[in-house]
Symmetry: C2
Subunit: 287 residues, 2 copies
């Protein structure tokens, strides 16, 4: 009798999951490729295959949602400018049927949003049952930007962290599978990508000179990310650090994480709640 094989996918999840305790991003190489399929060609092929699994699993999740199953998935994408959040949305999430996903990009809060608790706008953007929600940036912006720019004190920061943990625990308890990914790129890779945007007129609209100003705070942001990740990586809502200097690896890795989360739900199609044979008879010609 042979032992059950360890699923490769489980191992990737383990490999990228943040260990408990303090986090220093310097310990994570943005150019590394843990458990990589070995080459870009192979990764793209696996991405396509995984895409079909994502689409069919999401359909099954939705079918269960229609029958009252409260479960849903929420992919939280964080990372500095050019880290590839939009790329993941397009190349990974884009493989699922568009009716099965809900994408929310969080920008600077509007006046109405800013007048509420910082989780107010987050709650309004949560995916419905059966849907894969994607947050392109998220509530984590509220413990990153203000910390870097010194606009909140340590107590307020700690309070927000506690609020986030309580909120995410509620989500998990009510059927949301959370997948939090930090897309980790290096300082020099960001330079390369910003310069590439400058070289391509079709990308100038994405470029904001203020992004160069923010780059001056690079190490502060790295520390702020590390602190937030360490303080909010819980059993119900763990963080994954996805090395993202290599785009094909990043897309492949996030697609695997998403697939594993869906397979982990052990879904099947709900049985018919009506008389199949009677329906068939009623549909005989001429009816």
């Amino acid at each position: 009798m042979t032992p059950a094989p360890v699923p490769k996918a489980m191992s990737l999840r383990e490999a990228l999951r943040v260990a408990e305790g303090p986090v220093t991003l310097l310990g994570y190489d943005p150019a590394s490729k843990p458990m990589s399929p070995g080459s870009k060609v192979k990764a793209l092929a696996e991405l396509a295959t995984t895409g079909e699994v994502l689409a069919s699993q999401q359909e099954m999740l939705y079918a269960n949602g229609v029958s009252g199953d409260p479960r849903r998935v929420l992919l939280v994408l964080q990372g500095t400018d050019t880290s590839g959040k939009d790329g993941v949305v397009r190349h990974v999430v884009g493989q699922v049927g568009p009716a099965g996903v809900s994408i929310k990009s969080f920008k600077r809060p509007t006046a109405e949003e800013a007048a509420h608790h910082f989780l107010w706008r987050i709650g309004r953007a949560l995916p419905a049952a059966g849907i894969i929600g994607v947050f392109n940036r998220s509530h984590y912006e509220d413990v990153l930007v203000p910390r870097v720019h010194g606009s909140i004190d340590a107590d307020t920061w700690a309070e927000r962290i506690a609020d986030i943990n309580a909120f995410e625990q509620q989500l998990a308890d009510s059927g949301t599978v959370l997948i939090k990914c930090f897309l980790h790129i290096s300082y020099s890779e960001q330079r390369k990508r910003l310069l590439a945007r400058l070289d391509d007129p079709s990308k100038h609209w994405k470029f904001n000179p203020a992004d160069i100003d923010e780059r001056a705070y690079w190490s502060d942001y790295q520390s702020a990310y590390a602190a937030a990740i360490a303080a909010t990586s819980t059993k119900s809502a763990p963080w994954h650090i996805v090395p993202s200097d290599t785009k094909w690896y990043r897309n492949w890795a996030v697609s695997q994480l998403l697939r594993d989360a869906l397979l982990g739900l052990d879904l099947s199609y709900p049985p018919a709640d009506f008389d199949i044979e009677a329906a068939r008879v009623r549909l005989q010609p001429p009816f």
Copy 2:
């Protein structure tokens, strides 16, 4: 000097557009394939090519939206059960990046929705600037179902039609390109598709025995569609009748209509609103 070629795409739009005056759906063959590329294989190849155009055109639309351009696209899908609305969303709209589209499926109104004017929930679901919105069912349900089941009188129906025309004119005036498609299938094709759902356990969740009850009203629905289409096919918001007994033709045709609408906007990327060279200098190492 040769005359400019008539774009093939323009002609499909013309071919499927409803002529002014009374409409009888019996005059439109659901199995026909106007301007078809000739075979399923060719149609699928053209669908894939068109998908790339849709994705790049939408990105350009979005880039302009960021710079203040109010334009957006709204694809309205109507049709009886199994006519392929979900299929169009998946196979046509699914080719655009998921962040660039907004899909709204209208179900039976909630208590809150029913307590408002019937266009209230429609207004709340409109796409933002730069986005391709898709309505899977729409405000047209409110002039179809009640008419078939006799729950509104002729005056109320006429009032709703006038409301719809005024509403759609406002949308067009404020930058929304409307593409209204009626996915036209035959009575026998619907039978075939309903039976196919019964034969496939992974599709039982989509099956509702009440759909068979509604089938008894088939010709009333056809008349109600014809009346609504005739009364709301305007220059700003014309209806297209898409023969939909053949799935590959249906998907191909809607993708062409969507592509033509986007190309008709004559988009280009907005110019940079910052000093490109200064940005490049600021990004030199070590910065």
